[in-house]
């Protein structure tokens, strides 16, 4: 695997940031885009644009086909059973909201329980909170240990007869914990409880097989997967999509409309109301092709090696502390420097062209659990190199110098 060749496919890396070469370590937030994806967007708008599914003319037929091609690619990419199980949304947040809202409407009553974990991003908590407000549901948080691993025995104890759904992240965007979701799903299914997996962080960094996981719902954010913004994916088992009510109402999701009755469209259109981000969905096919051209296994191996290299180097720097030490960790490293606030770290690193994120990363529950108000986070993508890590460490040294740390 030739990283220089991969990096050269991303035009942003030829730009200078503050006069320095860009070291992009914020892929957990959003990934950069390869030229093929940018070209596809450009070309679609220039030569192929039309709305989909509504018109008979050739442009519309072509656009619809291209849009549906992506659906098939996504189905294959995550190993779903059918294209009917792939719903395009605005983002993963909307995917989770779709499930919380429709599942909640149908299945949650006062006093029913929703089990999530202390690792969750706000987007896998707030939608469930709405059910606490509207239906009187109870939200339980499965605890983690200081390493950032979910304590499975405690998790099991929190499941009761009133647990209606479990929602858990596949990969923490703070500690990099790879959660044993298969184990959790097996436990839940023995008690007939459906499981939603928030796959926002996992999609580009570990391989996903929804059939093997047997999850009921899986949410993906395409802009984190080398794709355009404005597109998310909800995978859901067909039985759920058939059973649950529709979410957003409007054109495209209906079958027959009269003054006193409306029937809804078949899957997957039942969940895709209004004009979709057509060009973006079409271009996302190129993101999948890009990852397949590298090979998911190579991509995972590369990031694993890079993470271990970075952990070793960072642990060797005085006053740097890594947040969490999970059993299985992906390319997300949150850290603190004793005596330097994460925001100051981010400003100083930015001056060196190093883009990291600082703050609570939309995980206030987790930060409180770890007794931290904020952390700095470096996260990797396929384009990152050991040299990037070296520059990060040098820039951290610069922080220590500015703050007169020993």
């Amino acid at each position: 695997m030739n990283i220089e060749n991969i990096k050269s496919q991303f035009p942003i890396f030829s730009k200078k940031i503050n006069g320095k070469t860009l070291v992009y370590l914020d892929s957990s937030n959003s990934s950069q885009k390869p030229m093929s994806v940018i070209n596809r967007l450009d070309n679609f708008y220039k030569n192929e644009f039309s709305n989909i599914g509504r018109s008979i003319h050739s442009l519309s037929v072509n656009a619809t086909n291209k849009f549906e091609n992506t659906r098939t690619s996504v189905k294959n990419f995550i190993n779903a059973n059918s294209i009917d199980e792939i719903i395009f949304t605005k983002n993963a947040t909307e995917s989770i909201n779709l499930v919380a809202s429709t599942f909640g409407q149908q299945n949650i009553k006062k006093g029913d329980e929703i089990l999530i974990t202390e690792l969750e991003h706000h987007s896998n908590y707030v939608p469930w909170h709405y059910l606490r407000e509207s239906k009187g549901a109870i939200i339980k948080f499965a605890p983690i240990n200081d390493d950032g691993d979910i304590i499975i025995s405690e998790f099991e104890k929190l499941i009761t007869k009133r647990t209606k759904i479990i929602a858990v992240t596949h990969l923490s965007n703070v500690t990099g914990t790879i959660v044993p979701v298969k184990e959790i799903i097996d436990i839940a299914h023995k008690k007939n409880i459906p499981v939603l997996v928030d796959g926002c962080q996992s999609a580009p960094h570990i391989s996903i097989d929804v059939k093997e996981l047997d999850c009921d719902f899986y949410a993906i954010s395409c802009h984190k997967v080398y794709g355009p913004t404005g597109v998310g994916i909800l995978y859901a088992k067909k039985k759920w999509l058939e059973q649950l009510p529709p979410y957003i109402g409007g054109g495209g999701m209906i079958s027959e409309v009269t003054k006193d009755k409306i029937s809804y469209n078949k899957l997957p259109e039942k969940y895709e109301a209004g004009t979709m981000p057509t060009a973006e969905v079409v271009a996302f096919d190129e993101s999948i092709k890009f990852m397949e051209s590298i090979g998911i296994k190579n991509l995972v191996d590369h990031e694993k090696k890079l993470t271990n290299y970075a952990l070793d180097k960072l642990r060797g720097i005085n006053s740097v502390e890594i947040v969490g030490n999970p059993k299985n960790k992906a390319g997300v490293i949150s850290f603190t420097i004793k005596g330097v606030h994460p925001h100051d770290i981010a400003t100083i690193l930015d001056e060196d062209g190093v883009a990291i994120r600082a703050g609570h990363h939309c995980c206030q529950i987790l930060h409180k659990r770890l007794n931290l108000s904020a952390t700095a986070r470096a996260s990797f993508g396929v384009y990152n190199t050991k040299e990037d890590v070296d520059i990060l460490c040098k820039s951290i040294d610069n922080c220590r110098k500015i703050f007169n740390l020993k």
Partner: protein, 156 residues
């Protein structure tokens, strides 16, 4: 811009050893400020006496070097000033950070002006402006006796 202009020694020093830190006794005004983007929180305590002079002014909170230093310097400069002078110093500070205007007030000594102007470099870092201004907005709220917490995302 050189980072040394942002992280001047005086800012690093105040950031590390803030003045007037903690809850003051017999305060009769207080206000809370919050920056939801980063989780920084500040609580301002002050005692306004019968002559409407800021007799005591302290703070509690957590934040970055810029935010702690800005708050620490603020408490030093505003303590002992009348309500009206306090308000005009706040105005001048916010104007300096937003618009780059100079500090002209005659109510501060030259030394104090140098201190307050050490924060002017923040203007060059738009993402950090709220770090520097959170406590000043919270002080306005405390002076005015407002009940609502200050939230940096809800300010103009």
């Amino acid at each position: 811009m050189d980072l040394k202009e942002l992280y001047q020694d005086i800012i690093l020093e105040h950031g590390k050893s803030p003045r007037n830190f903690g809850k003051c006794e017999k305060h009769n005004h207080e206000a809370k400020g919050y920056n939801p983007l980063c989780g920084d929180q500040v609580k301002i305590y002050l005692r306004l006496n019968k002559k409407k002079t800021v007799e005591k002014l302290t703070f509690e909170g957590s934040g970055c070097a810029i935010s702690i230093a800005s708050t620490s310097i603020m408490t030093e400069l505003v303590k002992g000033k009348s309500f009206i002078v306090a308000k005009s110093i706040i105005d001048e500070f916010l104007n300096m950070i937003k618009n780059g205007t100079k500090i002209k007030t005659r109510d501060l000594t030259e030394d104090q002006k140098t201190k307050i102007m050490s924060l002017s470099g923040v203007k060059q870092y738009p993402m950090r402006v709220k770090c520097a201004t959170l406590s000043w907005h919270t002080l306005i709220s405390a002076l005015d006796g407002k009940k609502m917490d200050v939230n940096t995302e809800k300010l103009d």
